[in-house]
Amino acid sequence: MAWACAMPEELSIVPKGLVCLANLDTRHQPVHRSIWELLDKEKPSAQLRYRLVDIDEQYPHSKAKRATYEWYVPKGILKTNWMHKHLHLVPSLIVIFFELDWNDPLFKDKQNELRSQIEMVRTSLDGRAAVISIVLLQNKNSFPTVDDVYSSERDQMANTLCNYFDIQKRSLCVLPVLPQPDNLSAWIDRLEQTFIESSQNYYTNEIRLVKKHKETLNNITHQLLHIRHQFKVGFFSELRQDIPSAVKSYRNAYSYLTESARIHDTNILEMKMVAGFLTYKICRISFELSQPVEAINHFRRHADIFKSKIGPTDLVFEHKAWLSKQFQTFADLFTLCPLAIQTQHPGFYYQEAAYQSMARKQISQACNRIEQADVDPSEFLKGTEFFGQRPWRQHHQSMEITDAQKEREAIAALRDAESRINHSELIISLLVQAITHFKKHSSNRMKLYLMYNLAEEYVSSKNYDIALNHYNHIVQAYRSENWWLILEAVLPAALKCAYLSVDLPDWIRFTLEILNPNINLSSQLKNQTQINFENFLLKHILPPVESTISSKDEQWKALPEKQAIPIDADTLKGLLECKVYFTHEAVSVDSEIILQVALKNGFPLPIEFSQLLLNFNLKEYNTLVHVTDIAKLKFLPGEQRILSFNFAPKSDHVQRLLEITSVSLIYGSVDRTHIDFQWRTSLQTTPSFQQTFLTPKWRTKAGHVLWENLPMRRKINIIMRAAEVQLTVEHQLPALLYESYPIKIKITNCENVDIHSATLTCTCSSSDDTAPTADDSLLSYSIADTNTETTAHACSRKLYTITKAAEIDQDLYVRCNNNRPREITIRFSYERLNLHCMKEIVIQLSVVNPFSIQFQTMGMMMEPLASLRAQEPFILMIDTRCTSIIPITIVNSSFKPSQFVISDCAIESQIDNIQLKLDEVVAEGFCLRTQPIAASIVQNLLVGEYSLYWKRSSHPNIPELCTTFSLSDFNVEQQQVYVEVNIPNNVPLQEPFQINYRIHNRSNIVHEYKVNLEQINVVVAVSGSTVTSLLVPPHSSSDVTYTLVATLCGFVQLPKFKLSMIRPQSQDVDESIEKTMPTHIFVVPSSQNE
């Protein structure tokens, strides 16, 4: 296909200025070779292309440029060899390498030799303006250093040489690399800079020359030259790496072509090809400059302009081929650009290229082959001088066709060539590329469309197996999205393809897809499809062959006689539906499982299945549900039927879950080829939030259940036989901490026989999720030693015989050692008819504290004490409060003083069998004295242990519990002074009595006190002096005794005893000491008066 869809190779090469290197002997000279390798190596931003030439290389001749174009009629736009010539043949610069040292003894001879070489090159350039450059390879030892005395002399020599060779001075370079180069690449880089400069100068010059022609052109006859010149300018600009002006020139050329040039049938191909070239150049540069929008816009415009320019009607295929190639090359360019998005990526262009090729293929099917040719058709297909011209009328630029006969022959030859082309290959490769891009941009649905095209193309190229793969994918995808309309179109083709590739499973699958009620194909076609299906599977009649396709009877006959074809019936959506339903969620092991299997038929004709089989997760049941009765498996179109199965669960499957894993319905005889419809995933119970269909009354007939309303349940629990006993418990919540909580269990035998060897098991488990461990409860059937620390989470007991209808009681005691809530499970189990029977009760237990105690200390005057005083007496008060709603009885209490405390008299409990209800308090007091202490202050002193003996009031025969509290956390202070008052309990009226104050000094030094008994009133008179001073030695005591007389009966106030410190002066007597002293005395009438 040389003409229309060819892109010349030169077009796709990135143009770089051509530099010819002469006299480099890369084969024998290592230095030459390394120079060449450094120059020629791949660099990303290389600006020049190098070529090794011989010194006598011939360069293409330059035509004599005409001075005027006045009478010139151009023959075409672009010569086919022009790009090649300037890329590979015409150099911009010729570099001659020559070994010459300044101080060479044979300098003159070599100089002459070089000059003759330069002359030779000049001759072979034949007027081309390429620059000649000389590189002198010199010994590096002779190279001048910076302060070389010879430098000016060398300069002089160089100048002379330049003049002698007739070259510019900057074209002479020196490379000091012999005999071994140092740092060659740095030298080469510098050398290359001068090359680039010279090369660019050359191309600038060429551009100027081309532009100079412009003034001499006119717009009528020289349109083609305008285009050609702009193209050349663009190409030269690219060669000199001036990309922006290259694009500008190409764009100019393109707009000349599309806007000013005349396009008619005879030159349309040429115009299109050049336009294609220009578009290629513009788009490629735009993509390289990361301007994809520019490229896309240009290409869109290009496609829009030329899509309608079809050209001669006999050669439409040529137009399509060209269009296809345009899209393809654009897509190729786009692929190199990373900036693609979902709605704009190369896939779309490959897709369009494929469609254009498909259109071309369709057109070319009308092309006839030439069987007997009068003329050689190859004559019309040979190469041309200009791009896009017709070989049989080259350089022809008029609108009329001169030789109509020749034109007809030529077109026939072209059509002949077209008809020999394998379009499918082209289309398939385009489609595959498009699919790759769509896949990359996650457009799966668009991909499907292309896959459909691809499948069709594979069919037309007789690649049925590959086509079938695609069809399978397509059908599945569209089915899962319920796009029946597309499936209607795809399925018949897919079925045909399956037939042709003799793929029985796929043939059956597509047949079933066609028979799906959602597919709205003609009933005749559907009926025929089902008949073919039945005939093949039941009667072994081969599927009939359509007249348009070749028969594959032989291969079909060769299919194996017996094979099972599994069909995933979950995907059949409406053709065949199945629902399974266990009537109960759980079944006890002594009753029957009832299972319903509902089937609904959507085949257009009546159908008869041979077997129905259900598979369970427990293999033992697999054979139980098996229908082979054909009458039950015969369905009319649209008929639904519910098959019911009853079977007993196996006794060893108690506590297990029975689950239906699959349902399989077999069509055809099992010992021949048959189909196995299998349901698996669709048996899952539909989620509960899915809407249930409300059935309108008019749609339900009597006794008819709407399919949608049929329930699904594919799992059933097999549970134990229920025990025929009554199990009740009596207890009174809450449980009290540490008590043996009594539970009365009552078991009544309701079986109609005696129960033997039953087991009663009680277990305790924590119901508090946060602290599941550290369960410390004790379960027992009898009251064990109540205060042991043992725990037991379970207790079990055998009950030997319970006679029929009898009731037995059993007590259970639970002791809880912490406050966490817990569950008590009481399970009664026994064997009956070889079945395990069980009854279970769960009790939620909450545990509370039975009572709380509170204690405080008081002085002898019943005043509250913040801290105890050492060696002084005090009163300990203990309050016990009932905190639970359960009444408790406190049987007894005891107080055991610690070693720090003594009691002056025997300690006796004041509590005896006192019953407390909620919030009631019992109080007890003990008079105690602290022992001397070592330090002045002792903290957290343990006073003693207080034990309470208590029990639940409602159960008097349970032994009482002892709960012991240790009383600590007392502070004791050592006081300096303690006044002990000795006073009679009561005194008779008007009789003198003595009151004795003993003052203890508990310090280590001598104290002197001033003692004053202050008379407050005359009710109690003091005899003698009231003020004295008193000396008390350390750790001893002194007494002060007063004699008083009371003059009034009753509870009278005593004179106030005041104690103040004389020595040491720094200290003072604590005022609180006054509070410890009696203030009143009880005076009774005198006995004399009686």
Binding site: N482, W483, I486
Partner: protein
Amino acid sequence: MACCVAVLIKENLIYLRRSAEELKFLFLIHASIDILDDKVNQLTKPTSDRDARDFYLGLLYPVEEYKIYGYVSSTRVKFILIFEHSTSISLKDPDIKLLFQRLHQAYIDCISNPFYEPNTQLKSKRFEQVVTSLMVQNDPLTSAIASSQASSVPSTSVIVPTAI
């Protein structure tokens, strides 16, 4: 004018009208679900600076002969209009948006019918009429656009709706 009108819920077609019984339309509609889904996802992103009430999604993807436009309602019902490339050159985005809004309104009217079962095929004479008016050439359409434009601007405004 439009040569194909389609309404979809998720990926299920609930209404389709084609000017010709061409399979290609089906494929084009099905393929445009990809783009619609993608655009809807972008729409729901909080970062998108689009107006949340702007349901018009514009040109979906390039096909040579046709132009495919999309529109999504707030309940994610998708509307697709396909125009032939040649007839649609004169159409501008605001015009197409108006067409979609008419279609959307007709859809709302249609599903407001208490006898309409949700997610099933649309069968409504009124809806068909609107679709027909979208599909026939020029006159009714132009007038419809003109009238809707006129109603959308205040009567005192000097803007005169021009024929398209």
